[in-house]
Symmetry: C2
Subunit: 153 residues, 2 copies
């Protein structure tokens, strides 16, 4: 069953005009897997396939949203920032692009956030088009609780 995107996360996403330009569509979330999509047309490149920058941006926001969703499971509306990413392009995406991410929060993720500590989450995002894998993304995200304790305390 698909859960709606929580309003606290949607409000953050609505502040990013590039997501509107890309026509990113929230497709599915069941508490474990998140699926986002964007159409070819606004994201097309000079070769008629999806622009690499759009592939990277869709994957980035898919992992970002998953990290935000995991933090909300701990009851905390976190700031989430991306620290690093790698992306391997396997083949062109010639139609709608899909990004899929499964949650992989470590056991202490919720506890650290609830204790006022920032936590890093490393996520894999699979990119596909027309049923085929077209790219593999890994991103390292940092969730920062609103009332963060000073380092060393």
């Amino acid at each position: 069953m698909t859960h709606p995107i929580p309003l606290m996360i949607q409000e953050r996403l609505d502040k990013i005009p590039m997501l509107i330009a890309m026509q990113i569509d929230y497709r599915f979330y069941d508490g474990n897997e998140l699926l986002l999509a964007c159409p070819l047309s606004p994201n097309i490149n000079d070769k008629g396939s999806v622009f690499g920058g759009s592939i990277s941006a869709l994957a980035t926001i898919c992992g970002w949203t998953m990290t935000s969703l995991e933090a909300l499971k701990a009851g905390i509306n976190c700031n989430v920032v991306i620290a690093e990413q790698t992306l391997q392009f396997l083949k062109p995406a010639n139609s709608e692009l899909l990004a899929s991410c499964k949650c992989a929060a470590p056991e202490n993720f919720c506890h650290r956030l609830q204790a006022g500590r920032r936590v890093r989450l490393d996520l894999n995002v699979s990119l596909s088009s027309e049923g085929e894998s077209i790219a593999i993304f890994t991103g390292g995200y940092v969730a920062i609780p609103p009332k963060e304790l000073p380092k060393g305390t």
Copy 2:
């Protein structure tokens, strides 16, 4: 002295609507270094800094343009595709974002293209804002000559 972007490359860039949405500006090219920029406003994120997806997209197209420029030095209007990338985010970009790339084509780059062979070029792109380095990008690009010889010949 700044060289204009060659028409053959500009025609390819004009086919990518995301570059228009990002308001990417060609700033400088002297035959060795290329500088691209984009303003904060269309690329802003929920925290008021530049969206990570925009940082990645600007870096991606900076390396892509440099690879295309290097191929034109060999007299060849190549298709260029990105094969892989890594991106480390160092700090937020709170103003205009700049991407800078210096050419680093290996000695055999031109010869291979002229012989009808595809060539991979690995490039570093430096991202900065307000005079400070904010991210480091590396991209592996493949230049494919229009009359490519079949593999194994």
